[in-house]
Amino acid sequence: MKEKFEVLTNKKWFSSLLWILLLIIAWEVGAFVVANTKRIPENVLPHLYQIIIAGFSTDKVTGDMTATQAVLSSAAQTLLRGFLGFVLGAAIGFVFALVMKMSGVLEKVLFPYLMLIQLIPVLGLAPIVLAITGDINVSRVIIAAILSFYPVATNTLAGFKSVEKEKYDLMFICAAKPHVIYTKVLIPAALPYFFTGLKIAAPMAVTASILVDTLQGDGGLGCLLSQSLKHAMSIYVFWLIVFFSAFVGILVGKVIGWIEYGVSPWKRRA
């Protein structure tokens, strides 16, 4: 019996199922507690079935859209901005890592600034970036880029630094030119680290774009989110957005994982 259980717990689907089950139980307990303590028309922590029903309901929450339609149509804008920012941030992050690797002086100069930018809260950053760019859409892309950039840059730099002395020695013996060392040794060695950076950055880009929406209005998931929280719209819209973003976050992580798997055949052990 005990053995059987162990076999079961080793299965991936089983642990996922257990995890989901525990989450549902905790949620429902929470929903009951909140329902008994608060006396507002709509429970801020509704039961799961209520959220599911709301997702499939045909009632209009805004002018002419159902809850699901409203979420998906705003999601398109927000995710596009998040995605653009993510790609931009990842590209710049990679280039910065490369530059810092090439020049120790530049690393010493740049790194503290990068950390500083990272320390400014998004709430403070958003108005500044908006003031500089003057365009609300551009500013949102840039904020997503700023947040994606740091984990990619630091992880990639760590990847470059992970190359052992012996590999440099071998390249030295072959009298390899610096650009050859970069293309044949440093960049391939940093690739897994780069992907780790991407996996950290992607959900941050999504979260950041939603958050910035709530500040600056003018459409997008975050806008919908704050309306819903202020009871200008059904609270279920809020929860649909939460689940939707969580789903997008997981999906993006998976997609990046697949891409990594695709470009790194040595990780597929025989």
Partner: protein, 261 residues
């Protein structure tokens, strides 16, 4: 050995001093005067820490001497390195995870601009020699330690360098593979007329392979004796049974200063 032979590598009063963490000087090597002939097979033999790797690295331009100098074919080690004339087998296999075994062997050839076809053919040949033909398309993390080291050796040979520097290449291998590679190494050496510097702390191995065995002693690392190995070539494994072979082994063993190995 009476004919006049070209000196290929010459070290003069070569010394290397490192600083340890406490800032104290560690003399890894001192006063090494060594002349190595072109096409010679030389073994550097000695206990751990006597400076064998340091001597090899100084010759290959991987280590700047603190005192003295090294001349190779009348050039500095750097000039020779820039002409890509060195092959170096490191003590630890230095393999690239993201390249298959064959692509690892091809890497230096890629850098030196060999054509694709030539690279592939030579890599196949070298892998065949070290018995890794069936693992050409595996990745390093799918190989055992000994197999990784064989891939490492195949890579150094693939280049066909003038001067082959081998740092304990066979110490991680089993006896059977080792004996096979000894014969292969001697065969390739005879066929290509390379100069080989071979590091080991196995006396039998050094005597079996070499023209001369250079005995190094530790604290401080120095060249304490050179023993001529005038056993006829080509040598087969039976040589190891002969009494002369064992005489030479004893002679080498007795030439260590400060105790036996």
């Amino acid at each position: 050995m009476s004919e006049v032979r070209d000196i290929e590598i010459k070290t003069r009063e070569l010394g290397v001093t490192f600083q340890d963490n406490a800032g104290r000087d560690v003399t890894a090597l001192t006063g090494v005067n060594l002349e190595i002939y072109k096409g010679e097979f030389i073994t550097l033999l000695g206990p751990s820490g006597c400076g064998k790797t340091t001597l090899l690295r100084s010759i290959a331009d991987l280590q700047k001497p603190t005192t003295g100098d090294v001349h190779i074919q009348g050039m500095t080690p750097k000039e020779v390195r820039l002409q890509q004339k060195f092959g170096f087998v490191f003590q630890q296999p230095v393999l690239f995870d993201w390249r298959t075994v064959k692509k690892n062997v091809e890497l230096p050839m890629e850098i030196m601009g060999y054509s694709k076809g030539e690279r592939s053919d030579r890599a196949d040949e070298m892998l065949e020699m070290v018995g890794l033909k069936d693992f050409a398309n595996h990745y390093p993390n799918q190989l055992s330690g000994g197999m990784q080291q064989r891939a490492n050796i195949a890579r150094a040979f693939g280049l066909d360098p003038d001067i082959l520097l081998m740092d304990e290449p066979f110490s991680a291998l089993d006896e059977f593979t080792k004996e096979k590679l000894h014969e292969d190494l001697l065969r390739i050496w005879r066929a290509t007329n390379k100069t080989i510097l071979f590091v080991t702390h196995n006396i039998q191995e050094g005597v079996f392979l070499s023209d001369r065995v250079c005995v190094l002693s530790p604290h401080p690392g120095r060249l304490s004796a050179i023993v001529d190995i005038d056993i006829e070539r080509p040598r087969t494994l039976e040589v190891k049974e002969s009494s002369y072979f064992n005489e030479l082994v004893t002679k080498v063993r007795n030439s260590f200063e400060g105790g036996s190995v």
